[in-house]
């Protein structure tokens, strides 16, 4: 048979010894993506990640909408971390339009994005727990994140898709008793997540399943260009909140969490440590925040950027998130690119899963802090 195949399709030889497994895309522990895994007995011979099942063309859509209309749809790649996804876009547009963000808005942005980071990590942790067969670790984070979601709803009006950040500040000021309310909840939240150590992170079953699984060395983490918790679990101290502080982060004391082991256990522990650090940052920001003042600069209708380009990046829940905007004196961006942590960490999958036992696949896959919708955009 030598029929011409349509572009992109290919025929494959079937081996007697090697079996091909399609993990996904119907979410049996892979998220909305497919891992084409070849196994020899119980061991993975090769892994070929196949994302794209939730590709929505955010970048193309952005070319047809002006800088303000772009706000709500650009947060869709990760709705649980919507403030952090919008953050680099807002910073970029501010540089293009020459806007100066009011001081109070800078602090409120930091608080909102740290709250959002906790909400995202709790969601991720819940999924990580359930796929390792630990159903309490699904229930606890899923319940505790409601605390912060309620708080974010009081600030922004929406539970998850906030669209809170706008170029030039934030959409609206916080309610009157916000500071007490926020402090109370964050303190309680911190007390709660510390309890996770006893049930999850110090649990011998979790340790035996994840320790030594999928080890990524420091050199390889750098060579593969990984980011976020994956990078920091391999001993590279790189947190953009500390290395390239944006907005109010420069005035706050940020500690970046680094572990040296580079295995799934270290990768799963870093986000939890990040949540504890977020609580510290929020408390500092509440203290230093100006008590009153404007939170938004007025924009001209349909603002135009010059003939320029800008690349801004922030530290999101999944690592560095960059936004590259090319402007050609139009109200719409000429080209907008989101460089997301999940897509950058995708390259680890074939690398880490090769030679691993099939049973370790969920532990390694989810420890990468990978969000399929974000990777596809």
């Amino acid at each position: 048979m030598t029929t011409q195949l349509p572009p992109g399709l290919q025929l494959e030889k079937v081996d007697e010894r090697i079996m091909t497994l399609n993990v996904g895309p119907q979410h049996p522990g892979s998220g909305h993506m497919r891992l084409i895994i070849k196994v020899d007995g119980d061991y993975i011979v090769s892994c070929d990640p196949d994302p794209g099942y939730v590709h929505r063309g955010e970048e193309k859509m952005a070319e047809y909408r002006n800088y303000i209309v772009n706000i709500p749809h650009l947060e869709r790649p990760v709705i649980h971390d919507s403030c952090n996804v919008l953050y680099p876009y807002c910073l970029g547009v501010e540089e293009l339009l020459g806007l100066e963000v009011p001081e109070r808005a800078k602090y409120l942005r930091v608080i909102a994005s740290e709250l959002n980071r906790c909400v995202y990590i709790q969601y991720w942790l819940a999924i990580y727990g359930i796929f390792l067969g630990h159903s309490t670790m699904f229930m606890w984070p899923a319940g505790d994140r409601e605390l912060l979601i309620d708080l974010l709803e009081k600030i922004t009006g929406a539970r998850v898709t906030h669209a809170y950040f706008v170029p030039g500040g934030i959409r609206n000021d916080v309610p009157a008793n916000f500071e007490d309310m926020c402090l109370k909840r964050v303190n309680y939240f911190e007390k709660r997540i510390k309890e996770y150590a006893a049930i999850f992170y110090d649990n011998p079953i979790l340790i035996s399943r994840t320790q030594g699984a999928g080890v990524l060395s420091r050199e390889d983490a750098i060579r593969l260009g990984t980011t976020g918790s994956t990078l920091r679990a391999s001993g590279v101290d790189f947190d953009l909140r500390k290395k390239e502080p944006y907005d109010a982060y420069g005035e706050l004391d940020v500690h970046s969490n680094v572990l040296k082991d580079g295995d799934s256990y270290a990768r799963s522990k870093i986000p939890w440590l990040d949540m504890l650090e977020s609580c510290n940052i929020i408390r500092q920001a509440l203290q230093k925040m100006p008590k009153s003042g404007s939170v938004r600069v007025k924009l001209k209708p349909n603002p135009k950027g010059g003939n320029d380009e800008v690349y801004k990046r922030v530290e999101s829940g999944r690592g560095s998130l960059g936004c590259y905007i090319v402007s050609r004196s139009q109200p719409e961006p000429y080209r907008l690119k989101l460089s997301v942590g999940s897509f950058r960490n995708l390259i680890c999958m074939p690398y880490l899963l090769k030679g691993e036992k099939l049973g370790n696949m969920p532990a390694v896959y989810w420890s990468l802090n990978y969000w399929p919708v974000e990777a596809d955009r």
């Binding site: 992109g8 994302p51 794209g52 063309g57 193309k60 750098i222 260009g225 790189f238 080209r335 897509f343």
Partner: protein, 184 residues
Amino acid sequence: MSQPETPETKSLAKAQPQKELPQFEKSLADKLESKFNSKATIEFVKVNRIRVKVKKEDVLDVARFIRDELHFDHAESVTGVDYPDQKEIEVVYHLGSYTDPELAKQVLTLATRAPREENPSPGNDSTRLPSLRDIFYSVEFHERECFEMLGVYFENHPDNRRLLLPEDWADLPPMRKDFKIKGR
């Protein structure tokens, strides 16, 4: 290789007319300039950001120099930008460094251009660039995305299959400007 180029000093002055250029970024740009002369055009030097434009014949040499001498070690993103009016497709690499603490804030933008075809046939036409995968391993998936989204074929890339698009996609590469969204 000798080619008539506008002197880089001109574009430098144009990028930031009055303000003083940031020192550290300027020193990096000077290193590139003194090594490659007219082959590498410094398009702007801003705080923490440098943009270098090179011809596609020189992109491998310049990238190797950026890795070995300037110590940038990974790619943050690879973006294709379509310019139908100039009949070119630009590919932009954003490079960063984890190993050198001095460079933590820096993002070096390396831009190069491939000819653009009116009726593209991805992989079989003249829209080709050398792949940087041997120099920066981290560009592997980014270049795959760029190939399917803009039809830029990366020579010597080990794996030029589709990544995000469906296998049976038979339309234009969707990030080209002549691919229009319905209803807009």
